[in-house]
């Protein structure tokens, strides 16, 4: 009886203009960063394709951060959605549209299936917390790994899938081939615009959309309740929130973003391998997110960028890259527990508070 009273309440309009302005500024600045990024990367020795890969994989790390950062759930099985998304997209292309490979259909189809899988796994594991939740997600991911490895006729087993059609991006009447390079314009030390393919533009637009979505999500009614549940689940239940439903929803959102990212990655690479559903892949999202900073919007992107860049540059030079990666992870956890972006935000906030208090005096 109590809940019916709320429907009669008129919604109070929020101060729109200010919000919209902030949204536009956020989108403009982020877009600017994404335009500059591949050229800055070139300057420090990263190749053009790496820039695209970083943007695509960042989307999965952002999804992982929704789970760990905002819902407080450590999943050690995100590879089942990432690799799962990749395999599903490839299988859809091979078996349902060999003649008219449509990127949207392949990617969205894969995303829908991984989202459903995530909702199912969320529902099965929602009663578990902390290490038990992590272990259960790991177990599910290992099952997926086993299935992918054994279902040779669909997945190619240990060989993975390579020869699936190059999906075209349907945009109105056009079918765009994202492998098309951008016009060749020499940019001195920043490389050549022609090094980049249309894929980079597409990945940047997708990442921008995902960032906008997650930014809105964390400020939304849903995000507010998710914060509350992370901070004190018992109290949240005894003010009337169905905490389990919120946690399942968070797993599903993370599964959607991770599956989307995995599908894009497979189509960009033109290949998908069993590594993409492996345990190391799951661990990589933990490292990316923690190094960049959980509970921050850009932390997952920065963390993915830094680790993927170092891996790419260093693994060519030294044979013990993974040791270095481990050391970086330990150093960040010990000295920068909020991650790189989290530490910067905290410092700048502390400085603002300090300045404010000085002004008051």
């Amino acid at each position: 009886m109590t809940s019916t009273t709320s429907e009669a309440t008129p919604a109070v309009a929020s101060p729109r203009t200010g919000l919209l302005g902030a949204d536009l500024r956020f989108l403009a600045l982020t877009a600017l960063g994404l335009v500059v990024f591949p050229f800055a990367l070139h300057l420090i020795g990263g190749y053009a394709g790496l820039a695209t890969q970083i943007l695509i994989v960042s989307i999965a790390t952002i999804g992982f951060n929704v789970l760990l950062g905002y819902a407080g759930m450590l999943s050690y099985g995100q590879s089942m959605f990432f690799g799962g998304g990749g395999y599903l997209a490839a299988i859809l292309l091979l078996h349902t549209m060999p003649d008219h490979p449509n990127l949207w259909l392949a990617v969205l189809g894969a995303t829908i299936v991984t989202t459903a899988l995530a909702a199912l796994i969320g529902a099965l594991s929602v009663r578990l917390y902390g290490i038990y939740f992590a272990l259960l997600t790991l177990a599910f991911a290992q099952m997926v790994f086993f299935i992918v490895e054994q279902a040779r006729s669909w997945t190619g087993g240990d060989d993975g899938l390579q020869s699936f059609p190059n999906a075209l991006l349907a945009l109105g009447p056009w079918n765009v081939d994202l492998q098309t390079p951008l016009p060749a314009i020499a940019l001195g030390p920043f490389g050549n615009l022609g090094d980049l393919k249309l894929w980079y533009v597409f990945a940047a637009v997708m990442l921008l959309a995902v960032l906008w979505f997650v930014r809105a999500l964390t400020r939304s009614q849903f995000g507010e309740v998710l914060d509350a549940i992370r901070e004190n689940e018992e109290r949240s239940v005894f003010v009337g929130f169905n905490a389990a439903a919120y946690r399942v929803m968070a797993v599903a959102i993370a599964g959607a973003l991770t599956g989307f990212s995995g599908a894009l990655k497979a189509l960009y690479d033109g290949t998908v391998s069993v590594d993409s559903v492996g345990i190391e892949r799951s661990g990589s999202f933990v490292i990316y997110a923690v190094v960049g900073g959980i509970q921050t919007l850009f932390g997952p992107v920065i963390g993915t960028g830094i680790i993927m860049y170092l891996e790419n540059v260093l693994s060519g030079v030294v044979s013990y890259w993974q040791l270095i990666e481990g050391v970086i992870f330990v150093l960040v956890v010990v000295f920068l527990p909020n991650g790189i972006v989290g530490t910067i935000l905290k410092r700048s906030r502390a400085r603002k508070t300090l300045l404010a208090s000085v002004r008051v005096k």
């Binding site: 109590t2 709320s6 919604a11 005894f238 439903a245």
Partner: protein, 256 residues
Amino acid sequence: MDPILRTSGLGKSFGHFAANADIDFSVAPGELRAVIGPNGAGKTTFFNLIAGTTPVTTGTICFEDRDVTRTTGHHRVHLGIAKAFQTANLYPDQSVLQNARLAALAHVQGAFAPQLLRRSTRLGRVDELACNALARLDLERVSELRCGDLSHGDKKRLDIAIALATEPRMLLLDEPIAGMSRDEARKTEALIRKLATEMTVLIIEHDMDLIMGISDSITVLHQGRVLATGTPAEIRENAAVQEAYLGGHSEAELHA
């Protein structure tokens, strides 16, 4: 009048230990009922069963003629049962206002609302409910503070404010004045009297002055069972109650 809450044969066992057993209990709407008993009598377990914090082992719970024995805790809140915890159970990193807002939001939106993009600030009633609840507990003065920085007494009062923000029909107060200064306790007592005119209140408290002064009736639990139920005067005179209390407490406590 039909009771607002009725339990029959209610029991809770942890292994072989029966924390609650055979509790037949009923409260009339608008009543202020105290649940007392020596330490370990099963008072908090009884509240946990009513609120849905722990599952029932035996027996049934009816709230407003609806069987809620298997109803989830969050659903019971929406039916009108709210609880203030023995140890203040809050969101320490959020502001005092946000603590109350979250309870109000749960009340206004329901148990689950997949509003992934829209903000809660558009729901005007949330702020109204939250501010009213804070005002009743005299917490407006600290509404912008971080909840974790509050004094002990203010934390306990905020816990009650959170319960009130859900507009309950029955309020469970587990030792609401424990650890409060004399002054805070007096203010809280006045508030409980006021609340009892608007809703049913169940209260666990060790402070016999308070209990004897404000209760319409008292139920005494002893070793997990109901020992006696009656008006404060009846309970004071009850020989079995005196006997039970002499185990751990002085008789003077009852007569204080």
